[in-house]
Symmetry: C2
Subunit: 329 residues, 2 copies
Amino acid sequence: MVNIRTRDVFADMRPELQRVEARLEESAQVDFPAVADLVLGLVRAGGKRLRPLVLLLAARSFDFDRDLLITAGAGVELLHTASLVHDDTVDRAALRRGRPTLNSVLSSGAVILLGDYLFAQSAMLAAATERPRVVSIFASTLADICDGQLREMFVAHRLDQTREEYEQRIFGKTASLFAGAAEMGAILGNAPEEAVQSLRRYGADVGMAFQIVDDVLDFREGTQQLGKPAGHDLTQGTVTLPTMIYASGLTESSTAMSRLRDVVAGDLDDPGDIASVVREVRASGALDAAMDEAQRFCTRARVHAASASDPETRELLEEVADFVCDRST
Amino acid sequence: MVNIRTRDVFADMRPELQRVEARLEESAQVDFPAVADLVLGLVRAGGKRLRPLVLLLAARSFDFDRDLLITAGAGVELLHTASLVHDDTVDRAALRRGRPTLNSVLSSGAVILLGDYLFAQSAMLAAATERPRVVSIFASTLADICDGQLREMFVAHRLDQTREEYEQRIFGKTASLFAGAAEMGAILGNAPEEAVQSLRRYGADVGMAFQIVDDVLDFREGTQQLGKPAGHDLTQGTVTLPTMIYASGLTESSTAMSRLRDVVAGDLDDPGDIASVVREVRASGALDAAMDEAQRFCTRARVHAASASDPETRELLEEVADFVCDRST
């Protein structure tokens, strides 16, 4: 399902996003010549800046201090970047967005410490807002992210997961930061408490949709688009929504089920076996069913956006939700 | 040099330290049965709690809220613990305080994420003080710690380091957290700004002494005391004050200098070669000279303590400084 967009939220918000970008590059300065360019390259490679965008928009209907908002937006994006650095080390990923990860050019020790350093810088940006509630959300969001990533790790290679477990896990790993970004923006905008809560829910739903789409794209794209081969999650033993939907359509004793079980367990790790499971998941309709689920989260996000903002901002928030479901990379 | 102590600061402060302990264990609860006990064991194995002790004492002459102080003290100790978890992963250390590291029983990915989780929990404790300045110090201390650890990594295997580089590095790695703990305590005690600054310097000096003593103990102790074999720093190519003092007494063309250079460079990594460098450093008097340097930092710490506290608290702060220089583990 493709939504017809009437505005371009990225163009409308470009001046603010450019200021976030500048603040981000300032904070990512590292005093070690050997790695300074690597870290800057990593920060610059950072896509659409959806998390700071959500933070900026959440404040837009209210009475905000632009400079604090830019600072918090940079903090949120840097927290995301730091978390990717550690995540790539955990996964031993060689590529991210088509570029070599830090992990592939530095020792894992250096990458751990650089990730920690970026966490520290992001916490300094959050602290610079001088708003205790913003700092608390920031810290608890980091805890949620780690919790989600640890859950993913501890349930890896297991096919017997419930949808609730999947949703809890992707909330922590991804949606928590979108939720936190929206909440921080609303708080910095001095929004009424009811609007703060609606915007938090908006962020959470956008984040859930984002991760489901990511999990679908993992089955769809090849190396050139996403920077990693299709079926990467399966090779890690990570069971996502498309796999769950596909598995629910198989009979227990089928060959397909047996192969899926072996691939997830890591007992079958031949690229050919993984590729054929990927093809079967694609052919089963599970990707469309998962996209429908993402769309349901986007629809809920639109409802929350409507209750908490002026008509123009509402339109921009809706654009972001639509973008998340329509994106192909 | 052994100081005669008249009081036992650990006994005097036991009730407060026990409350820190309880808060710490609360925050280190992890919702994953497989690792909960490991993390709790790690937190419980945590030595003398010197950092929270410094934080508590820094507020003691002033007007403080005990509960906030306990919270911040637990935050400081948990930040330290999280940083040890990552540090052991960086070093691939198998033992810490005589116990197996997380690193030796879990995948490095799990350890990275658990360390991040503990960082998040420590940041939540700092945020719970609701004091923006405390949160800022907390975040910039984490940045200082990473900076010190990265410096240590990037200058490893190089003998041509200045004393200034060494001091900058151990300030970041160790003294920054003692300095930050004292500063946070003083701020939470609503101390006058001048006292805040003196207490920060007290903490920094105690921390410098602490790390120099640590670097000396690395040459002195065997596995049973410190939980790692003597000469561990040398095997990592880490050049510390004793090695620098020892090297400054060697002629460039001597066999001893050539062997030292090869051991530091990692070209000689036979345990026998490392053991004989360790013996020579011990025999050279470099350890006593380094201890004298630690003692100088302790003397400075005593001066700062005197300028910023009531007589009883001053005595307790002095006890801590003396303990740091006298400790044998």
